[in-house]
């Protein structure tokens, strides 16, 4: 049995196939309704997986992840309102197509590009992840520390409006991760005598609060519940083979971009689709048509954002470091089920790894079928009234906060996180870096202190140990480059202005 076949039995049974179908459909619903994101969908359903096996839990959550990335295409194309931030670029060409009466065609191209991008990325995941895990097996604490730092910096770099705010958010997450019992010394930190805090602040109530309740509050603040959308799909959804043949290189190129960006710790589907779209515009023979209803634009954006899944899962599985904020939540879900992602998971739990590979492939086929057959239904979902949706999400957040430990403390954490999430949104502080900080915090701290222990606690020796590791050095140099890039850009801008 190889790592590619061990999970066959786990995936190809009625229950698992049903979970994939349910996951993809739920994900599409979350993606299709403007205001609900992939983060929220996956976060809200983590508590639902509590009674499941780790394999079933991940199969469902990956289905939601994949489905929601595509689902956002529907309102982006039909209403020019991206269902998720990752579909921002899809609307640029998808909406003009709808106005020309080609909404169905745009959605069909989006589904097919998402399917091909996702499928390609599943193969990359299956081939690259084991190799990367082998390489990561030789990683020491210096390399892991450097990778975790890279994750934090990349998130800051990607948050283009304010790198400082993104870094502050990540640092806040790093601090929350230190609450509880110190794993090295057994010392209690910031527990204020509360027994519930000894094991640290629960990760799941935090993400449910930040992405669930926080988003509900933000929508109420901007009176989102007063908005009403009506959308319908016009024309044929299934694209012809000729169209797909014309788009094959666009899809292939964008998929590769998506996988690479997805694999970068901290980067995500939004960046992937923006880069792929820009790349397509540069390489297009008719760049003037981009943004005016070019099918290439829809294909590039959708292929890239779904291809991100395989890349992000590669980093998550082989290194234990999240590729984006959704995989950070998936790591939380894995830990909840007693599985620690990282190179060791390939030896300790090969069936789970295999099940993830196979379920990602199956989920992509499911996405194609549900996406093409259900396009008209999902268009109707876009118009679900928010006065029903928002309180329902709040109810799910409360039970989700409670479900993990069956204590009211989880609800309190969820409510506080919801308020923090709202304040972050109000202050323009991005939330994903906080989640990354929360996940990467223990990795950073333990590896940094391990490096110190090996070097007898001398900072000079620690520095030397980092210098002696080419991989850690290369990663840290990349971090310095990313940190200094905005400053260099600003100085250059000033010089040009002069």
């Amino acid at each position: 049995m190889s790592i590619y076949t061990e999970g066959l039995e786990l995936v190809f049974n009625l229950q698992s196939l049903l979970l994939i179908a349910v996951g993809v459909t739920l994900g599409m619903l979350f993606g299709a309704i403007p205001g609900l994101t992939a983060n929220m969908g996956v976060a809200l359903f983590v508590p639902v997986t509590y009674a499941m096996s780790p394999e079933e839990a991940l199969i469902l959550l990956i289905g939601i992840y994949l489905g929601s990335l595509y689902g956002g295409t529907i309102p982006a194309v039909l209403l020019n309102i991206p269902g998720t931030p990752a579909d921002l670029m899809t609307g640029l060409d998808g909406y003009p197509m709808t106005r020309r009466g080609e909404g169905g065609r745009a959605i069909g191209i989006g589904v097919c590009a998402s399917f091909l991008g996702g499928l390609g990325s599943a193969f990359v995941l299956a081939t690259v992840a084991p190799l990367l895990a082998d390489l990561a097996g030789s990683f020491g604490s210096q390399e892991y520390f450097a990778l975790a730092v890279l994750g934090i910096i990349v998130v800051g770099f990607v948050a283009s409006e304010s790198m400082a705010k993104a870094l502050a958010s990540a640092l806040f997450g790093l601090f929350i991760a230190t609450v509880g019992t110190d794993l090295i010394t057994g010392q209690q930190r910031f527990t204020f005598g509360q027994a519930e805090l000894l094991a640290g602040i629960g990760f799941i109530p935090i993400i449910i609060g930040l992405f669930g309740l926080g988003e509900v509050l933000e929508q109420l603040h901007r009176r989102g519940h007063r908005s009403s959308n009506t959308a319908s799909v016009s024309g044929r959804v299934l694209p012809g083979l000729g169209v797909l043949n014309r788009l094959k290189w666009t899809i292939a190129r964008s998929s590769l971009t998506g996988v690479l960006i997805g694999a970068l710790p901290g980067a995500g589907a939004t960046l992937a689709s923006v880069v792929a779209y820009g790349q397509q515009k540069r390489l297009s023979k008719e760049p003037e048509k981009m943004g005016r209803g070019a099918p290439e634009g829809v294909a590039a954006s959708d292929a890239a954002n779904n291809a991100c899944t395989g890349g992000a899962l590669t980093t998550m599985l082989s290194l234990g470091i999240p590729g984006d904020s959704v995989t950070a939540i998936l790591i939380g879900a894995m830990v909840l089920h007693g599985v620690q992602p990282g190179p060791q998971v390939f030896d300790a739990n090969p069936q789970l790894v295999s099940a993830i590979f196979i379920s990602l492939v199956v989920a992509n086929f499911c996405l194609l079928l549900v996406g093409l057959a259900g396009a008209k239904f999902f268009a109707k979902i876009v118009s679900v009234p928010k006065n029903i949706l928002l309180p329902t999400i709040a109810v799910l957040c409360v039970i989700g906060g409670y479900a993990i430990q069956n204590t009211s403390f989880g609800i309190v954490v969820m409510l506080i996180s919801g308020i923090i999430g709202f304040l972050f949104a109000k202050g323009g502080v991005p939330k994903p870096p906080l989640i990354l900080g929360l996940i990467l915090g223990p990795i950073m701290e333990q590896n940094f202190r391990r490096s110190l222990a090996v070097s007898d606690g001398e900072l000079g020796s620690v520095l030397q140990s980092f210098l002696s590791s080419p991989i850690a050095m290369a990663i840290l140099v990349a971090c310095v480059f990313l940190l200094s890039a905005p400053i260099v850009r600003k100085i250059r801008g000033r010089n040009v202005a002069r």
């Binding site: 921002l88 400082a164 009176r223 006065n387 709040a394 069956n406 939330k431």
Partner: protein
């Protein structure tokens, strides 16, 4: 203003973290120092906070006496630009029909109702299902644009369906022991 306020908040919180680490006992070596990493994060928060305050002051200086409202309007215009990782992430999801005007009119009562609902569900003994039904009924009707008997009846029916569905999934299928109340 968001730079200034968020910078102040993060900076003060960073100082608070640094102050709290003083309570942690001293260690023999750096690797055994449980306060080391929290101190680094506290110092980082303070530094980034100070930087944001500095940026905020520069912005205020360069734009004169820019009021909060003016800046919020600027932010709304900025939201129309493609922002990669959301600042906030959801800026990409802003709905044109919602308009730039923001209000606490719904937000504060909603948050208070949610806290009350959680308290009634899990602390007081009203019971999870009953509290969920009442909460949903109230909020769905309150947030509805058209208020009338028809909306009230549909709110009651919908709330019953949603509360029942959540009870079936979480309590019966997932066996989460929620507090029992008047009905279930």
């Amino acid at each position: 203003m968001t730079h200034l306020f968020s910078g102040l908040a993060f900076g003060v919180f960073g100082l608070f973290v640094l102050w709290m680490t003083l309570d942690l006992p001293a260690a023999g070596s750096l690797s055994e120092d449980a306060a080391l990493f929290p101190r680094i994060t506290g110092f980082g928060l303070f530094t980034v906070g100070a930087f944001l305050v500095f940026q905020g002051l520069l912005r205020v200086r360069s734009t004169g006496s820019m009021g909060v409202e003016e800046e919020e309007a600027t932010e709304d215009r900025g939201a129309e630009q493609p922002i990669l990782y959301s600042s906030p992430e959801e800026s990409a999801l802003r709905e044109p029909s919602a308009g730039p005007k923001r209000t606490y009119r719904y937000l504060v009562p909603f948050m208070l109702l949610t806290i009350l609902y959680a308290w009634l569900s899990f602390q007081v003994g009203v019971g999870y299902v009953t509290a969920t039904f009442v909460f949903l009924c109230t909020v769905i009707y309150w947030l509805a644009q058209d208020k009338g008997l028809r909306t009230l009846l549909s709110s009651i029916l919908l709330s019953g369906g949603i509360a029942g569905g959540i009870y079936i999934v979480f309590v019966l299928l997932l066996q989460i022991p929620v507090p029992r109340g008047f009905f279930l």
